[in-house]
Structure formats: structure tokens, C-alpha cells
């Protein structure tokens, strides 16, 4: 069918909304509450347009097109209504924008600017709470414009419903059940809500100043270690395309910041592969605590503890690559009598919990915080020369790199296991890549048939857990990444304007960047990492107890993660 928007004809499909047609054709219609497929409540009333023959303005996000529809997106009436909606929101919004963590990155601020909003509607404001009790997420109700995206994401994508709307009328707000603090809510710290919040109402805990403190310390070895997915997002903060691979510049920037050593968490991942594969084989043999759940995703770990505590023993005891590496690094330097401070850079908000838990890591910052630090030090990121990670924890295989994408852990483990059992090199494992949410794979490993499941997004994890619980499905190994798409789309990654690009596209681009490097490295397997063997031999002396002590979580009767 054909519709006319602002005097021009456009082809539209039956069932499409005005907004869909407009976005496809580059016609700008502002939105605040719209998040494709997840939150389409038409409640902010910012995307209103005029439709010929309809008395009132229509919300572009919800109004379906019809043949011959005549739409006007920028008449004075439309502009006025949009401005009214924004100014009303502004009248109940904390306007300390200059000191807001989202200053200049706030969609609402952008719209206030675009529509030249004033404080026309002066009036009483709500009483707002500020909640920074959670290890990862900070909630500032005074910044909330009630778009509902966070609530929808938490419920629909992440199956947690840690936050929801409470109260009614003017007093409506987003909060936890019974207004409890976030630390005592169902929040697992995944940070998906932070990614979609258009304002500064939800942000991650900011630890940049603590990192600055560490960088100012004398007499300690200052170590940075970086997770795989950071390097495909960090560049976006400096104007690069989504998914640009900036590993070299990132290492360089960390050196510029003042770190003595920059290590690759991928090295840790190679260890994880070895340890976790070993653990799987052991459990298969003993036929206990199956399926084995991957433990590298902290949000998933936390989710399992909170929602399925009865499966705590199924969690792999192998430490996450981050903590595994940190433990080795600490052991390595302390053996030499040196004091170390370890800062890890993660695409993740939930990882901040690892600061609290074992004391191996001193600080944990997100990709965004690293970008902030780089900006703080006025480092010209894009002109930095490429540098390599430092030894002895700088060498990593591309198997470890793909940990940043959903399916990566499984693929890496399979490559390693195939090599271990057959001696053959396993290339790409296509079946585990690009899943919609849940992928089931059966593999033959030395005559044994293994059932694997690869899951991303906690709503999907919930579905899988229910099936396991009910006995409908039997798996040997389950990989779960809390964030849809895996760490590439982690809650700590650089903000993306979802009005311009869908989250699926973001995941695709960042994953592609990782897979490209994996391909360039000829799909190297963890067994090929020389440093790993060397560390096992030389540093750890193949001492089984020591290895277990350093690389595994201690299992307590309950909640061994704590």
C-alpha cells in the first residue's frame, strides 16, 4: 500500500505502524517510551502525528497504516503537543542535569533541547528516592520519566521483574516490590535496564574515582585486565562504528591511564575452558550434578541463586575467566613479593559483584567507565598506537575471545574437548552460533552423546530451567549468558541509540567483529595457548591442590558463591 508522509509517497506494508514506515525512510519522529518489540505502550505521547481525517493526534508508534493514509509529522499542532508532553515530564524531573551521570547522553535532555522546552509547567514535584544499595545498579527516581522500558526489559527479556510500576496517579513511580532497596530485590545486576533507560534514572555504579585512587597509589603493581567483549564496544564511545575492534588502542589507553600491566581476560578464559572441560568430564563420569551450568556470567549465577537455589551444585566450580586470571596474576606477583592492585574492565554491570565476593579483584569497571576515564585523562583514543597485552597473561586464543558472544563458551569447550579426545583440531562450530535464545546441540564426544543447551537472555534461561525442573529436558551442559546476545550486549557496554539501531543489529555487529578475529586466528583452540601450559607447569607446578585452590570456587553447603 501507499501512504503519504509530509507530502511524499511511501510504500508501506499492511500491519506496519506509522513509526515503522517513518524510521525505515529516515523520517524522524521522536519517541521516549518506545522500544521495539519490548515496550510499546504509547504512553509518553511524544511521537504524536497528525493523520488526515482523525480528530485527535495519533501516536505514530501504535497507529497502524492504511492505504492512502495522509500523515503529517511536523505541523505546528504536532510540535506543540510534543512540546507539551516533554514540558510536562520536565516539570516533574530533577533538573540537575550538569551533574547527572547521563549528562549529554540523555535522550530526554536531547528532546528538551530540540523542542526548546521551558519550565512552563511549574508545580509540585514528587518525592523521590535514591537507591544505591545494589552492587551494580543505581536508581534515581527523580530522573525517571516513567517510560517503562526498564520494567519491560526486566520482565520480558530478563524474566526477573525486579522493578515495576508502583503507586498511581501523579505518585506513580518505578520501584521494587514493597519499595525495598535494590539490594534486597530480585535484581541480578545484569544492567539491561541501564542500557535502555533514556535518562539518568538507572545507571551503573560509578567506580571511576576508586580506580583513579588506585592509579595514584605508589608501591603497588597496577594491573588492568580486560574482558573479550570490551574491545568491540569501547571504540563506539569515540565515534567509531558499532562493533569496531579496538583491542590495540584499548591496551594503549590503559597504559596511558597509568596501569603497569594490561592483561587479557581471554587468557583466563583459556584456563576456564581447560578447567570447565575437565569438570564436565569428571561429572559425566560420576554422573552427578548434571547438567553442568557455566558460571562465568555473574548475572546468571545470581539469577540461579535467587530463582533456582536448588541447582546451586550444578554450577561449575571453575571460576569465571575474570577471577581465574586475577587469582593467577595475584599469585604470580605475590610470589615475587610484590603488592598488586587489580582492576578489571568488563562489558558487564553484574561483574561488580566480584569485587565484593572473593577479594581477588580490587575494582571492576564497565566499558562505559573505561571510556569515561579515557575522556577524563583527555586521551585522544583514535590516534593511539596499537599495543599488545603484556606477558605472561597476554597470550590468548580466539576460542577465548568468543566467550564474549553467546555460544562462545560452549564452542571453545567443544574445540578443546574434541582436541583432547580425538587429537584433531575442531574449527568453527556453526550450530552454537546465532541463536534466537535457546539452542540445543547434540555432540558425539569419544563415542558419548552429549546434550548441550546454549541460552541467552534470562527469560529464556527461565524457560530452560523450568523444562529441566519438570524433567522434560535432559542436558549434560548448559551455557547461560544473562544478556541477550551474550557479553557483547552486556549491561556495561557503550550506550547505543535504539531509536536508530535495533538491539539485534548491535549484537550482530559486535559479534561479527569477534567472529572475524576468530576466523583470522583460524579458530584457535585453548589447547594451543602456550602460556597456559607454561603457567600450569612453571607457575603452578601442576600442583592439583594449588590449581583447585586458585582456579575454583570453594563449595560451601549453601550459596558457595558468597
Amino acid at each position: 500500500m501507499e501512504i503519504i508522509v509530509d507530502g511524499k509517497k511511501y510504500i508501506a506494508e499492511n500491519g506496519e505502524t506509522i513509526l515503522q514506515v517513518a524510521r525505515r525512510n529516515g523520517i524522524e519522529i521522536p519517541t521516549l517510551c518506545f522500544l521495539k518489540g519490548v515496550n510499546e505502550p504509547a504512553s509518553c505521547r511524544v511521537c504524536v502525528v497528525e493523520v488526515e481525517g482523525v480528530k485527535n493526534l495519533c501516536t505514530a508508534c501504535s497507529t497502524k497504516v492504511f492505504d492512502g493514509m495522509v500523515v503529517k509529522t511536523n505541523t505546528n499542532k504536532v510540535i506543540r503537543a510534543r512540546k507539551n508532553a516533554i514540558e510536562l515530564l520536565l516539570s516533574n524531573h530533577n533538573q540537575n542535569c550538569l551533574s547527572c551521570p547521563k549528562n549529554l547522553q540523555c535522550q530526554f535532555q536531547k528532546l528538551c533541547n530540540q523542542f526548546q522546552c521551558t519550565n512552563k509547567f511549574k508545580g509540585e514535584m514528587n518525592e523521590f528516592a535514591y537507591d544505591d544499595t545494589n552492587h551494580a545498579i543505581v536508581r534515581d527516581e527523580s530522573k525517571c520519566i516513567l517510560c517503562g522500558k526498564c520494567v519491560a526489559v526486566c520482565a520480558k527479556r530478563q524474566g526477573c521483574s525486579a522493578i515495576g510500576k508502583v503507586g498511581r496517579g501523579f505518585e506513580t513511580k518505578v520501584s521494587t516490590p514493597f519499595d525495598r532497596d535494590m539490594q534486597h530485590s530480585a535484581c541480578v545486576g545484569c544492567g539491561q535496564c541501564v542500557l535502555v533507560c533514556p535518562t539518568g534514572a538507572l545507571t551503573q555504579k560509578n567506580d571511576t574515582s576508586k580506580v583513579m585512587d588506585i592509579l595514584c597509589e605508589d608501591d603497588v603493581v597496577k594491573i588492568a585486565q580486560v574482558a573479550p567483549a570490551v574491545r568491540v564496544s569501547l571504540g563506539e564511545a569515540f565515534g567509531n562504528e558499532i562493533g569496531t575492534f579496538v583491542e590495540g588502542k584499548m591496551v594503549s589507553a590503559l597504559k596511558e591511564l597509568g596501569f603497569d600491566f594490561v592483561f587479557d581476560v581471554n587468557t583466563g578464559a583459556d584456563f576456564t575452558v581447560v578447567e570447565e572441560a575437565g569438570e564436565l568430564l569428571e561429572r559425566l563420569e560420576r554422573k552427578e550434578n548434571l547438567p553442568l551450568f557455566t558460571s562465568c556470567c555473574p548475572a546468571w549465577f545470581n539469577y540461579c541463586e535467587k530463582f533456582y537455589p536448588e541447582y546451586a551444585n550444578n554450577m561449575s566450580t571453575a571460576k569465571s575467566p575474570n577471577e581465574m586470571l586475577a587469582s593467577l596474576v595475584r599469585y604470580y606477583f605475590e610470589k615475587q613479593g610484590k603488592k598488586v592492585k587489580i582492576v578489571s574492565v568488563m562489558p558487564c554491570t553484574a561483574k561488580k559483584r566480584e569485587i565484593l565476593t572473593h577479594g581477588v579483584i580490587d575494582q571492576c569497571i564497565t566499558t562505559r567507565e573505561l571510556a569515561d576515564l579515557i575522556k577524563l585523562k583527555s586521551i585522544n583514543f583514535n590516534t593511539l598506537e596499537d599495543k599488545k597485552f603484556d606477558d605472561p597473561f597476554g597470550e590468548a586464543t580466539s576460542s577465548a575471545l568468543i566467550f564474549g558472544v553467546t555460544g562462545g563458551v560452549t564452542e571453545a569447550a567443544l574445540r578443546y574437548a574434541v582436541f583432547k579426545t580425538t587429537g584433531k583440531k575442531q574449527g568453527i562450530v556453526e550450530e552454537v552460533r546465532f541463536s534466537d535464545g535457546v539452542k540445543e546441540v547434540s555432540v558425539d564426544l569419544a563415542g558419548k552423546k552429549l546434550n548441550l543447551a546454549i541460552v541467552h537472555g534470562l527469560t529464556n534461561a527461565k524457560a530452560v530451567m523450568e523444562e529441566i525442573k519438570s524433567g522434560k529436558r535432559k542436558y549434560d551442559f548448559v551455557e547461560v549468558m544473562a544478556c541477550p546476545g551474550g557479553c557483547v550486549n552486556g549491561g556495561g557496554q557503550i550506550y547505543v541509540d535504539y531509536d536508530k539501531v535495533d538491539v539485534e543489529e548491535v549484537i550482530k555487529k559486535r559479534s561479527a567483529s569477534i567472529y572475524k578475529v576468530d576466523g583470522d586466528c583460524k579458530f584457535s583452540g585453548s589447547e594451543e595457548n602456550k602460556s597456559v601450559a607454561k603457567i600450569y607447569d612453571e607457575l603452578l607446578g601442576n600442583d592439583k591442590h594449588l590449581i583447585h585452590d586458585l582456579l575454583h570456587y570453594k563449595r560451601a553447603d549453601k550459596n558457595f558463591y558468597e
Partner: protein
């Protein structure tokens, strides 16, 4: 249950019904039936105690064989409750207290009535209730027969009054499309607010093919001052059950929900009992009247949110979600409760259905006006003598309602306006008193039928203050989902407050009007789209009052405290009584000389004015 059993029950109870309804004394052995109103209104004035006392007294006097005592549904004249009806005399006693019981029973023993308890008009006692001016113009369809059914065996009495005949007729003789056609032809329109043709709603849902469909009765009556749905459910629950089953048959649904507000515990209790009774008799459940039609009914309680009267919010609430309206389309007819095609009808709408089936579309069609058929129940409240529930044919004028049925304004005050349609409606001033009530005329006046709340205001009411009252309501009851309603209403209320505080400018008035139009045009659901109506309609008819507040800092009704003050005139003899009563110590002076009020301290409570025996304190 089959038709013979239905007939058998009817025959068992018809004599008592005829005794009450027609005064036919043949076939009953007792002489009087004393029926005590069991509606929430009368119950709250201790009618249950009156009923208990009546039963005891009758027993004590050994008159059990002559005088029967029963509970009965709401009669409507709630202001004068507890109401007691005496059959076969058809007399109505008002404001009956436990102390009156002895006299009532003794007089019946002597075949006399207690004149002082009868309704009086112009000083004369009215012996028959139908002769009261309150009753004369009323016509009962939705509230049909409830004054004749005793609450104790309401199912049997309902059957004796031809209840469940319509359901039998429908399931055994009619095709679903024929049922829908009768309802369509009758011209019945939704009584909950918007007035959407009921037949159309049914038809839209009937034609959708789906495995599961639902019928919902919207009993989330939330308009301030409206209580007809409560009354209908309390007094005649089987009419709703029967109608829902008929609707279920017509659209192909086998499950119904009554969404009842939890603030109506008595209605819930009676409806649940009625559902249980009907199920026990096979009037609900599997294979009704031996046909393949099955229908079950469940009550869902609301948690007290006004917005849940909006159909999409209501469905979300039943589903267990937050009661927030969702976008339409999809309409409930295609995608309603749990995603299934659903019909949602208001209580009063449903109360008409069985009678339309029994009497035919033509019968119903003849009542009312060309655009609005049938009758409408109104909750008449505010500054009116006979406040309570009334049911009138569409087309009755507002003047008839207020001056004939309502008995005019109390204390000789002057009528100012009537607010119709609750917080979504608008006010109608004196110049439009002769407007016939129908959907179209009311909306042309900037008001609406709504659920039928009529709040009468007199000269002592400030129209800005009235608008403020409703905006306070909508501010609190907005679900908070969309921006215009959530924040816009709050800002409207703030401007109104500025006006009543005497702090507004004419620019504020201009801004107020613009903002009202913005909220009306841009809100997501009906609540927000209508919430500015009380402001817009008072602005339309009483703009001068707004201007007076702004320019002259004057509230002519003397309601706005900040714009009025109490002053002591020369009549003061200096007795100091007022200063002793003043809660804030704002009055001082010397004994035997004129006292003074410190305007800074005064909170305008009016206590001094009430206290002064010399009329020396006046409000300016």
C-alpha cells in the same frame, strides 16, 4: 433444571409475589409482609437491627402467622433510610429506627399504619408508595421487581417473577445470531459511560472464531456518588447472572467474570450466593436446560482503582497485571481477556437484557427517545431533597428529575447546576434544565451520561471548587501510564488551586484552558480524555466565577477559604464566647466591647460564626 421445574418453583412462590406486587391476598395465610431494605445504604443506618427487632417483636407478640418479616432490595430513596415496606398496603416507612418497631408491629395487629413514619409531601402523609412524587415518573426495567423479592429466597422469587425464562428461551429456541439481533434491534446502549450499542458489541465478538471467549460484567463502579450497580447486584443479582449467561450463549462463551470492586462486600456476598444457588439449581454450569450450552461464572475483586472501570485496564487486572489501560485496537471483541474475544458490559446494561428477550426488542424500542432507548438509572445526590436512586425513561428532562422526583433543593436555596457523568462529565446550568436526557443532548452540552451520577449543586457551591474536587479525584486515580493524564491533571489542579487561592492571573486561566484541551486530546484512555471535562464545562457556563476569583479575589459562594474572611460587626456585645471557641486564638478583645479577628491567624473554620448568638460575625 428444565422448564417444568422452573414452572414448579414459580407456582410455589407466585402467591407471595402476587400478595406483594398486586395486593392479591388469596392464597396466603398471613396478613402483612413487612420488608426491610437490605441495601448498603439502609444497612449502614442499622436496617439489619430494625429487621431483627421486627422479627423478635412479631414473635414476642405471637403474630408469626399474621406478619412476615423479610429483607428486600434497595428501593432507591436512600436518603430516608432505613426504608420499610408494608405489603399488601404498599406503604413505605422512612427513617425507621429500632425504637419504632414496637409501634409498627402493634399498629399492624390493629390493621393500622404508623402515620408519622410514612413519607410526607406538603405536610401530608402518603399512604401508598407509588403515589409519592419520587415514584410517579419512574419506570423500572433495570431495577425491575427488586422491591418485591425477599433477599432470603431471592432465586425462587426471581423465578416466580419469570426469571430465567429468557435464558431458557434463548438456549432452547433461539440461535445465537437471533439473540444478538434482538439486542441490536432493541437499541440498548452501554450504560457504563460511552453508550456503545450493546448489540454491536455482541455481534463483533460473536463473529470472531475462537476456542475460548469470555463475558465480563463490569461492576467496578467508581464514579463519586454513583451506586446503581451496587444496588442492582445487591437487590437483583440473578438478573445479572441470567444476562451474562444469555450473552455467553449469544457470543459463544462458556466462562464469565464479574469484576466487582472490593469496596462492595455486601454485593459480593449476595452475588456469590446467587451464583452458588444458580449453579446448584443447574442454571449455571454444564448443559444448561439440558442443552449443549455450558456457562460458569466467577467473581473477581478489584483492588479499588477507578481506572479499572476502563475495560482494557479491567482485563489486565483480572489477568493479574497492573490495572493499566492498553491500546485499542485491538478491541476486546477481537483480543480481550487473556487474548480471547471478550464482551464487557456494565451491570445496568446487563440488567436490561433478560427483559428485552422476554418482552421483545419492539417493547424496549418504544421506551425512550429515538437515539436513546429504554430507561436509565441515576444516582441523584448533592443538594437535593430526595437523594437516592431513580430510574427513568430516556428523554425525561433534567427539570423533572430535580424538581419533581428529586423534590427540589433543600432549605429554599437556589439551583445552580447539576454535574452529570461524574469526574468524566460536565455540569449543566439552569438555562439547560429543560434538556431531555439522552446520550446526544448531554454530550452537546459538554456533559455526558456516564454511569448516571447526578450531583446537584446550589448557590452555596463554588464552581471552581467543584472542578477542583473532580480534578483531585482524577489526579489520584490516574493510572500514571501516560504523560498528559499523569502530570497534566496534576498541573491543571495546581492552576485551579491557584485560582481558588486568589493567586492566579488571567494568563493562568488561558494556560488552564489550553492544558485542559491538551490533556483531553492526547491522553491514552477514556479517563484522561475526559478528566478535564469538569473544568471545561464549568469554564463554559461559569467563566465569570473564574474571573471573579482571579480579578476580584472573590468567591461568590464563600467556599474558597483564602478569598473569604470573617469579620465582627457592631452587633458584637463583647461576650467573648467566640474567642473561647476559636481553635487558633485569632479572636481577641475586651469584655463588653467589640472583639476583633486577626486575619493572619484565622483559618476560616467558621466556628466563631456558629458560636455567636447575636449574628455579629459575618463571612465576607
Amino acid at each position: 433444571m428444565n422448564i417444568c421445574e422452573l414452572e414448579k418453583i414459580k407456582q410455589q412462590f407466585i402467591k407471595e409475589i402476587n400478595f406483594r406486587k398486586l395486593g392479591d391476598t388469596s392464597g396466603v395465610e398471613y396478613k402483612y409482609d413487612v420488608m426491610v431494605c437490605g441495601g448498603t445504604g439502609c444497612r449502614s443506618c442499622k436496617s439489619k437491627k430494625v429487621q431483627d427487632a421486627l422479627e423478635e417483636t412479631v414473635k414476642a407478640k405471637g403474630l408469626e402467622n399474621l406478619v412476615k418479616v423479610h429483607g428486600v432490595g434497595c428501593f432507591g430513596l436512600c436518603v430516608n433510610g432505613p426504608i420499610v415496606l408494608i405489603y399488601p398496603n404498599d406503604a413505605l416507612y422512612e427513617k425507621v429506627a429500632v425504637e419504632d418497631v414496637e409501634e409498627i408491629v402493634s399498629s399492624l395487629a390493629e390493621d393500622k399504619l404508623v402515620e408519622r413514619l410514612l413519607h410526607h409531601e406538603d405536610g401530608k402523609a402518603i399512604e401508598k408508595k407509588d403515589e409519592m412524587s419520587f415514584c410517579k415518573k419512574q419506570r423500572y426495567i433495570a431495577r425491575n421487581n427488586s422491591e418485591f423479592m425477599c433477599l432470603e429466597n431471592i432465586l425462587e422469587d426471581y423465578i416466580a417473577l419469570d426469571g430465567y425464562r429468557a435464558l431458557h428461551k434463548v438456549v432452547s429456541e433461539m440461535k445465537p445470531e437471533e439473540v444478538v439481533k434482538v439486542i441490536s434491534d432493541s437499541g440498548l446502549r452501554g450504560r457504563g459511560g460511552a453508550g456503545f450499542p450493546t448489540g454491536k458489541k455482541w455481534e463483533f465478538t460473536r463473529v470472531v472464531e475462537a476456542e475460548q471467549k469470555y463475558v465480563i460484567c463490569n461492576a467496578d463502579e467508581g464514579d463519586p456518588g454513583a451506586f446503581m450497580d451496587r444496588s442492582i447486584i445487591e437487590s437483583n443479582p440473578h438478573a445479572i447472572i441470567e444476562a451474562m449467561a444469555i450473552c455467553g450463549y449469544a457470543i459463544g462463551a462458556n466462562k464469565g467474570f464479574v469484576y466487582l470492586r472490593a469496596e462492595y462486600p455486601l454485593a459480593g456476598e449476595r452475588l456469590q450466593k446467587a451464583i452458588d444457588d444458580a449453579t446448584a439449581r443447574g442454571l449455571l454450569g454444564e448443559k444448561i436446560f439440558g442443552t449443549d450450552f455450558s456457562f460458569e461464572l466467577e467473581i473477581k475483586y478489584g483492588a479499588g482503582a477507578f481506572v479499572c472501570g476502563e475495560e482494557t485496564a479491567l482485563m489486565r487486572s483480572i489477568e493479574g497485571n497492573r490495572g493499566e489501560p492498553t491500546l485499542k485496537p485491538p478491541y476486546p471483541a477481537t483480543k480481550g481477556l487473556y487474548g480471547c474475544p471478550t464482551v464487557i458490559n456494565n451491570v445496568e446494561t446487563l440488567a436490561n437484557v433478560a427483559q428485552i428477550i422476554n418482552n421483545g426488542a419492539e417493547w424496549y424500542n418504544q421506551i425512550g427517545t429515538p437515539d436513546s432507548k429504554g430507561t436509565k438509572v441515576f444516582a441523584l445526590t448533592g443538594k437535593i431533597n430526595n437523594s437516592g436512586l431513580i430510574e427513568l425513561p430516556m428523554g425525561t428532562t433534567i427539570r423533572e428529575i430535580i424538581y419533581e422526583i428529586g423534590g427540589g433543593i433543600p432549605n429554599g436555596k437556589k439551583f445552580k447546576a447539576v454535574q452529570m457523568g461524574g469526574p468524566s462529565g460536565g455540569c449543566i446550568p439552569e438555562q439547560h434544565l429543560d434538556t431531555p436526557i439522552d446520550y446526544k443532548s448531554l454530550s452537546e452540552l459538554g456533559s455526558m451520561m456516564g454511569s448516571g451520577g447526578m450531583i446537584v449543586v446550589d448557590e452555596d457551591t463554588c464552581m471552581v471548587d467543584l472542578a477542583k474536587f473532580f480534578l483531585q479525584f482524577t489526579r489520584d486515580e490516574s493510572c500514571g501510564k501516560c504523560t498528559p493524564c499523569r502530570i497534566g491533571n496534576k498541573r491543571i489542579l495546581e492552576i485551579l488551586t491557584k485560582i481558588t487561592d486568589g493567586e492566579a492571573t488571567m494568563d493562568d486561566l488561558d494556560e488552564l484552558e489550553k492544558l485542559c484541551h491538551y490533556v483531553k486530546d492526547n491522553s491514552l484512555c477514556g479517563l484522561g480524555q475526559t478528566s478535564p471535562n469538569p473544568v471545561l464545562s464549568t469554564l463554559r457556563y461559569f467563566r465569570d466565577e473564574y474571573i471573579e476569583h482571579i480579578k476580584d479575589h472573590k468567591c461568590r459562594a464563600g467556599v474558597c477559604k483564602k478569598l473569604s474572611k470573617y469579620v465582627i460587626t457592631d452587633k458584637c456585645i463583647g461576650c467573648s464566647a467566640c474567642s473561647r471557641q476559636c481553635p487558633v486564638g485569632a479572636i481577641s478583645g475586651e469584655i463588653r466591647s467589640k472583639f476583633n479577628i486577626d486575619q493572619e491567624k484565622c483559618i476560616k473554620c467558621g466556628k466563631c460564626c456558629e458560636t455567636c448568638r447575636f449574628g455579629a460575625i459575618v463571612k465576607e
